[in-house]
Symmetry: C5
Amino acid sequence: MLLKKNVPVSYVLGKIKVEMALLALYSTTVYVVHTYYHIPLVSIPVAVPSILGTVISLLLAFRSNQAYNRWWEARTLWGAIVNDSRSFARQVLSFIDNTYDDADKKAMKERMIKRQMAWCHSLSQHLRGQSAQPELKRLLSDEERQSVADVHHIPLALMEHHANDLRLLQRMNWINDYQQVAMDDTLTRFSNSMGGCERIKNTVFPVTYSFYIHIMVLFFVMLLPYTLIEFFGVFQIPLVVAISSSFFLIEKMAIHLQDPFENKPTDTPTTTISRNIERDLKMLLKDESPAEVDRPAITVNSTSVYYVL
Amino acid sequence: MLLKKNVPVSYVLGKIKVEMALLALYSTTVYVVHTYYHIPLVSIPVAVPSILGTVISLLLAFRSNQAYNRWWEARTLWGAIVNDSRSFARQVLSFIDNTYDDADKKAMKERMIKRQMAWCHSLSQHLRGQSAQPELKRLLSDEERQSVADVHHIPLALMEHHANDLRLLQRMNWINDYQQVAMDDTLTRFSNSMGGCERIKNTVFPVTYSFYIHIMVLFFVMLLPYTLIEFFGVFQIPLVVAISSSFFLIEKMAIHLQDPFENKPTDTPTTTISRNIERDLKMLLKDESPAEVDRPAITVNSTSVYYVL
Amino acid sequence: MLLKKNVPVSYVLGKIKVEMALLALYSTTVYVVHTYYHIPLVSIPVAVPSILGTVISLLLAFRSNQAYNRWWEARTLWGAIVNDSRSFARQVLSFIDNTYDDADKKAMKERMIKRQMAWCHSLSQHLRGQSAQPELKRLLSDEERQSVADVHHIPLALMEHHANDLRLLQRMNWINDYQQVAMDDTLTRFSNSMGGCERIKNTVFPVTYSFYIHIMVLFFVMLLPYTLIEFFGVFQIPLVVAISSSFFLIEKMAIHLQDPFENKPTDTPTTTISRNIERDLKMLLKDESPAEVDRPAITVNSTSVYYVL
Amino acid sequence: MLLKKNVPVSYVLGKIKVEMALLALYSTTVYVVHTYYHIPLVSIPVAVPSILGTVISLLLAFRSNQAYNRWWEARTLWGAIVNDSRSFARQVLSFIDNTYDDADKKAMKERMIKRQMAWCHSLSQHLRGQSAQPELKRLLSDEERQSVADVHHIPLALMEHHANDLRLLQRMNWINDYQQVAMDDTLTRFSNSMGGCERIKNTVFPVTYSFYIHIMVLFFVMLLPYTLIEFFGVFQIPLVVAISSSFFLIEKMAIHLQDPFENKPTDTPTTTISRNIERDLKMLLKDESPAEVDRPAITVNSTSVYYVL
Amino acid sequence: MLLKKNVPVSYVLGKIKVEMALLALYSTTVYVVHTYYHIPLVSIPVAVPSILGTVISLLLAFRSNQAYNRWWEARTLWGAIVNDSRSFARQVLSFIDNTYDDADKKAMKERMIKRQMAWCHSLSQHLRGQSAQPELKRLLSDEERQSVADVHHIPLALMEHHANDLRLLQRMNWINDYQQVAMDDTLTRFSNSMGGCERIKNTVFPVTYSFYIHIMVLFFVMLLPYTLIEFFGVFQIPLVVAISSSFFLIEKMAIHLQDPFENKPTDTPTTTISRNIERDLKMLLKDESPAEVDRPAITVNSTSVYYVL
């Protein structure tokens, strides 16, 4: 989960420091050439960057909107995974009636709920193209872990294990027919959330659109000093840097938001969410929270998940 | 529920009085320096704030839109909690057939419906990081209240109690198999609403976006006096304050709307909604409304929930 | 249902005639002071109202959009009530098998379908804070009508009666277990539509946002004559009135659309919709349409529901 | 289904030829008066139509958006009717087990699927206020057709027949209890689509909004010649016509899109969709396509459904 | 799945090279005529293209938005097909209990899952108006393939085969009644996705809207040289080409995005998605991946699906 803190200015500016340096150099050059060498420059009326600015603003607004929607959809999908994981655990615990404390039933419940935790971790890592072996080791039986070791899509294989267990539960009459169908519905919702994340991961934002906006911003920035120099003289340098930086920043934000599963600090925090799911499901299992595992892990990336740029 | 009243001007202005004072000081300084000390100021053509104004307006419109959507989604989630609480009570009352006035059944019904009231209150307080002990004391049995005293997520634990009661109802044949699944569906919807609120609560609005807009507004405000002084003279002071205030106000509104569970007067009114749910469910239970409990509670915060800024 | 007619210009202008009169007076005063008394006025460059106009347009567009969405959501919720009322009647008529023309079953069907009509009317009046006694008298049995006479939320109480009848139907084996759950689903949808309407009714549109836009429009209107007088002379008076009126009109429209259950002619036409539901359900019941009741009622408000401002 | 073709320029211009003629006359008059009679005209600075143009563009964009959404929702509702008709036919064919080729079952299946075709045609005509007798004659039994001859809402009555047949199927044990409920769900979806279309049909777009935009466009068009004449002389005439026409065209498009069930060539193509549903369901029934009925009907309106203005 | 790569500038420019060449010629002509022949040109104030630019930007933003929504909806529908195909395979595998390794059951499972793969391929090709015979040959039995050889809508016919197999499964008691209904629900979701794709395929984007925007862009481009030549001289040529190209590019992007099933490189990648579904379902079937079939196929179109313009 993202922590709320004041963002240090240095962090924000760090994202665009190369662009800012180049722009400062460029506008200084224009100023020097104009003032000391008296080379007559093309004089650009203020209306030209004004038109360009409006057009770029509209396009950036459209783009930010779509990028934000992708980011928010990704967050909503993981929100649905949280909800459905809790619902799945609730169904496992309340549909199977082990009031008389049947050890077999208890073991089965634990197996299924721990597999659900493992599924969340494995989906989180699968989306980032990374291995979830540490979590799988911790949460799955050795046998089950080996059965999914070689498959190309671990979360899908784990869902299949869930479905097989549902059949088992029904065959043993631990759940009735309607309960099986109701729990299968929950698996379908997991499948939909998983597929939704893959869709966002695998569908690039229309590339030429991004490319074209970038070109227009560069073009706008190039024209700016010629317009401002007449009115502001040497003050045009900070003005150019300030105005241009804001356009670059908005652009950068859209680029970061539109791909939320790329293992960047601005990702949808799938690792933290998976860990929270684990904590909640363990509470439902009346299990002790493995404090020694959780805390250091949170500390590790605590410096890098503060900001969403 | 928010009451409709005319908003006193003083309330609106109170939100931004620091900004207004600083701006008045700043533009007065500009005026004094310009007029009495005859220090030649940079003359900024009207087109520069015009471009900036359009850009900022577009960005603020985008931002207000997203903030409004978060606020409205939070309200809709709590609307769903109202609807599902009523549906849950209806199912409890009509699925369990106690026409022959079975005292056990009646007690069970009351226990479940009161737990649902307690769940609403506990979720409301959980989202704000506060304790819901007074409401839990009033609505839960002592035994149940102690069982959830130490858990980190009380609403989730109460949902588990609901699910256990559903299993009990089914085992005793007070509800049939389909009814259990149908009521479990209702629990799933509660789980979704709860998770949706937590998602809004825990996901910060992209921070640098807010930060960047704030910088641009400040920048715009700084330039304004230099542009207006030529045309308006001393009248530029109120003009600058008026125009700038409006940008600050829109910004403030977005900041308030985007985080609707922060225990501010502009929150989603979860306390009032929970109290209304309690009143409606009590009506369904044919219970007397505990007038002496309700009324003072409403009075307490009646002065602070009038406005949504 | 709203009738399509040409809107007389007088109706549209009637909504803002006070504002128009004041504006005409104001701009005439400016003209007279400027022209006959030769008092030098502040000369405002055309760019200032131009910036303000763009900003206000963007904010009004955002606001109109949100207001329109609330209005359309209210309409959609009542559309869902129409659909679900028909589905409920269909389920009542086809799930209960009275092919051999059982008088008891027939009476039960009629009771439930008439109660559904009564529910629509009572919700319509409940949202407006009015009494639905005439319709309840017409559609409910005396006994049932008295049982809901004192409750604070009549539609909710009627839903409870529906649920009790479902239990009765199931106990008598007139419907089977799945059919009870399916019909309970329909009741849940009614509950959701009812709650959605209450959410729209009880949630005020962010007040300071409206307030702030109003202030900006006033401010814009105040500046307008000073800008236009140089170019247009006496013609600035109609120009100021025309341009300002359009902003006021858009604002008025948003204010009307955003609160669709306030017993204004621009409401969601819940009374007409309820009457149409009654007509459709009566057709399904093979009942004669009570022409002498319906027709005058429609005539009464036929002059006031033509326009949506 | 709409065919893709190049739109002849004459078609597009035909929609607004009256407006174009009047505008040409008006701007010519302005030119003549200005040039030959040397009557000094009010000189309007270019900024005034510039503000107006931006405002109108924003309002037209909002309006086009809402009109497009209504049109797309209507299309989506008919898409849902296509999907659900296929699903209904699939359920009828696969839930009723007539592997041993029972003639009664076969006749029942055909009756239900043909009634579904008839329902689509009757809804299409009902929305346009026209009679669907030819299609009903072709697809329903005489007895059934007469039973719906006098009702005011034929599609609703046909749904009732569907529901009665479902009860019949269940009573004869041709479908089991769950299948009845599942098919009743499909009927509920038909009911929702039907109600959605009626909602769009019966809810006028806020009238004064359209009216006000129209007034603003006219006002803008009136001012245009005075602004352009100084820069362009006689060339202002085509310029005024070109710029104004584009605003009128956008406005016209919105007006056409917002009411998609008015029997215009730009409607949602409900007749064609109904015919396609008929073809698909006949394929599922393994029926021969009645080529002699279909083809001429398609030819008749093939010239009028090409364009969506 | 679309691969992420840097888009070579040449690719982007290739899309509009004809337009760019014509524009360069046009603006050069204007320059030559103006400079060398000293023919006095109409001087267009910078405000005219400024108004036009804002209007066109707003309209293009609206249009891009709608086109993007169509494209994203198409992608989401195919995402749903992925999810539901996996859910369907899961249901087939886990609802039919062949723990004792019944060869008949195993063959049935394989038949149904392979038919699902075939369905995806056939829908992909059906939308593009192409034949899916190679895939059908590979995945269906000869008998089944011939039964769908002559139908006009192969995916619909395959769905019918699915439904018939469900009836068979139920008759043989391999699945119970609730499971049949649950799997029929999955078929309904396939039907909805299929119908959604056909809706997008068959509904043209309002033609005159596109046409009108195109005219406005052309008009804007024609005026541009006259405005820029005074300020920039010979530099107006690259400026005109650059500004105009960007408008053409945005327009082109919208045209490509709005029709995502036209067998262009910018389509929704239905072939790749179908192949991935095949791979996932084969994994669930524990089948060996037919490496020799898959790999070359991917190579074939690997050069053409890189970019989404």
